[in-house]
Amino acid sequence: MTSALTLNHYLIVSGLLFALGIAGVIIRRNALVIYMALEMNLNAANLALIAFSKFNRIIDGQILVFFIIAIAAAEVAVGLAIIVALYRRKQSISVDELTTMRL
């Protein structure tokens, strides 16, 4: 491997994506888009894991990524179901309207 790429390159990219994910969750009001941002978070973690796995030469990272992907899928399913239910009830998926319980 003559690549100049180091682990840090991947980690920075993953970190940037993670930061984007967090920012997205905070900035967006649309529950669906928030959910997309959350998926970005998980993906960032996946990238970091695979990078570590690669550079440490340990397979466990990839195994975890597999689990993450599976679980993320399940989570998305449940999450979208909730959002659908929410839409059915309120005709909106803006989280701004979910403030009946506060203080």
Binding site: T2, L17, N43, N46, I58, A72, V78, L80, A85, Q91
Partner: protein, 166 residues
């Protein structure tokens, strides 16, 4: 700069750009589209890291299944109209601030080189066997648990999105 590096930069920048567009775009459909792209570029990065199986899963599950789900829901709900409002300044500032702070901290942290405490054995190649075998040996328990998790998700989704109540 070899091709490997070039691909890394391309995938990375493209992926991050897509990520930015996902959250910066007002139309959820567009967001979803960019998210698909993001997943694909991510799969590219996985390939660069020689995680071939995972890359494949990434495309199959994420780009294929998850995103279809997203799009399906977007279409089902027809929410374009409701999601036309502007961003809230406070939220934008807060989000960007937290994101930047996180990155800044990460940069500082990564400036210290990472020496793994325990090195692994042979080079990984990301082959199917390499990844899949442990599932049924070492990682059987989490694997079974994941199965249960999927059952839960299934039951949950059915219950939550049934149109008619019993």
């Amino acid at each position: 700069m070899n091709i490997h590096d070039a691909l890394f930069w391309f995938f990375s920048i493209a992926m991050l750009a897509c990520g930015l567009l996902v959250i910066a775009n007002r139309n959820p459909v567009t967001s979803a589209m960019f998210l698909v792209l993001l997943f694909v570029f991510m799969a590219g990065l996985f390939l660069l890291l020689e995680a071939i199986f995972i890359a494949a899963i990434q495309v199959l599950v994420y780009a294929g299944a998850v995103m279809v789900l997203f799009l399906f829901v977007i279409m089902l709900l027809d929410i374009k109209a409701s999601e036309r409002r502007k961003f809230k300044i406070l939220g934008v500032v807060g989000g960007i601030a937290v994101g930047l702070a996180f990155v800044w901290e990460l940069v500082i942290i990564l400036s210290q080189p990472i020496e793994p405490l325990a090195g692994g054995g042979a080079e990984l190649h990301g082959g199917l066997e390499e990844v899949v075998k442990p599932f049924f040996a070492h990682y059987m328990l989490p694997f079974e648990v994941t199965a249960l998790l999927l059952l839960v998700a299934m039951v949950g989704v059915v219950l939550l999105s049934k149109k008619e109540l019993k």
